[in-house]
Amino acid sequence: MRKSTIAAASAVTGALVLLPASAAHAHGTLSNPLSRVYVCKNEGPETPKSAACKAAVAAGGTQALYDWNEVSLLEAGGRHRQLIPDGKLCSAGREKYRGLDLPRADWPATKVRPGSFTVTYHATAPHANSNFEFFITREGWNPAMPLKWSDLVPVKTFNGQNPTTFTNWTINLPQRSGRHILYSIWQRVVGSNEAFYTCSDVDFGGGGGATPAPEPTPTRTPTPTTTPTPPKTPTPTAQPGGTWKAGTAYRSGDKVTYGGQSYQCLQGHTALAGWEPPNVPALWKRI
């Protein structure tokens, strides 16, 4: 009964770009050493046990953990450093996963030693033609500070990989002491620009006094409620007949002008970019 989407679209346009490969998205995360999202997902989204996972859920909710294998950017295309700001490397810059960015020194960590180490990637939907990059934080990195791109030192890159559900690679961990993050990027190369990002907390031991903090000042204890927030929701300042403005709280019946046209508010809301009157007929009626 259903006709092929591709064929039908061709019939409509006659000039169709085939994109079947991008239709199927990969999924996965690092399972050894366990990534943050995997640790918290294993503890249980509704029943986190560690203080760090509790804080992650308090900060960002549980959905991030149900979607543990999607810490990804669908259109990354290798532009990781452009797209993901410093401090948001563990969430891939995505609000959904913001709980994973909490800078804390108590994320459950895998004990490791310098030298040969086998990493395992758990891909619930593996895809061929992929590059995997592994990084470790620099010596002297402070786990209580936000993770920055400049903190990462490349360890090993595996190009042109065809991962399976569980794929192992051997990497060589450099000399480090105390807590660090093993960071990975899985970049698909053919048929998709999708990339996956993981933060795995590792402990090289011998932390103690051997980890000089870069700053002598006491480290700020991050709390889940202090994530940077945009300005508060503004108070209602609707001026009848005024110009539509994002951030204004409009009530039903308020009148504005936008682009030389007059509109009447149909339903109360705080205006925002993308909800300009001509774009949201549910909220504004042209008068």
Binding site: R2, K3, S4, T5, I6, A8, A9, A11, V12, T13, L16, V17, L18, L19, P20, S22, A23, A24, H25, H27, E46, G60, G61, T62, Q63, A64, D67, N69, E70, S72, L74, E75, R94, E95, K96, T124, A125, N193, T225, T227, T229, P230, P231, K232, T233, A246, Q267, G268, H269, T270, L272, A273, G274, W275, P278, N279, V280, P281, A282, L283
Partner: protein, 182 residues
Amino acid sequence: MRRPAPAFALMSALLLALLGSGACGTPRPAAGPVNAQDVMFTQMMVPHHRQGIEIAKLGATRGRTPEVRTLAAAVAATQQDEVEMMLRWLHAWEQPLAAPSGAHDHRGGPPETDRRQIAALARSRTFDRDFLNLLIAHQDDAIQMAGIEVARGADPAARSWAERVRESRRAQIAQMKSLLSG
């Protein structure tokens, strides 16, 4: 180009009703350069939007603060319009209203996971916080889906709408984060 008559007749009637009611947004030309990405994006966004509407409607009725209820109701209303707009597009493109079964949904968890999450939200004792976090996650996914359309779509109306999806969902998330910290 077989058309299952009853379904299409019903759909056409619905579409005519929608067009006649003036519920439509920007008028668009009947046929443009439409590619498979446009079709896939629209077919996937319809169910994703409907799920968002379900979440938002819970917020509109159960929200503890007027700010949460107001935002949720506006999200539900705007997304309902957008669903109708997308169905009109699929109809104009002569495409099925849903992706062929077996087509991979971008979202990782099976739909049951999301249904469970919505059911759990309905029972939540910390409703506003859980609602805001769930809708932030949902809209964050929408931003990702829209990003592919912006990069790879062909239809100008669908692409410019995808831009607006990214913009408005980012702004919604900013509002919701502000409500969370308030």
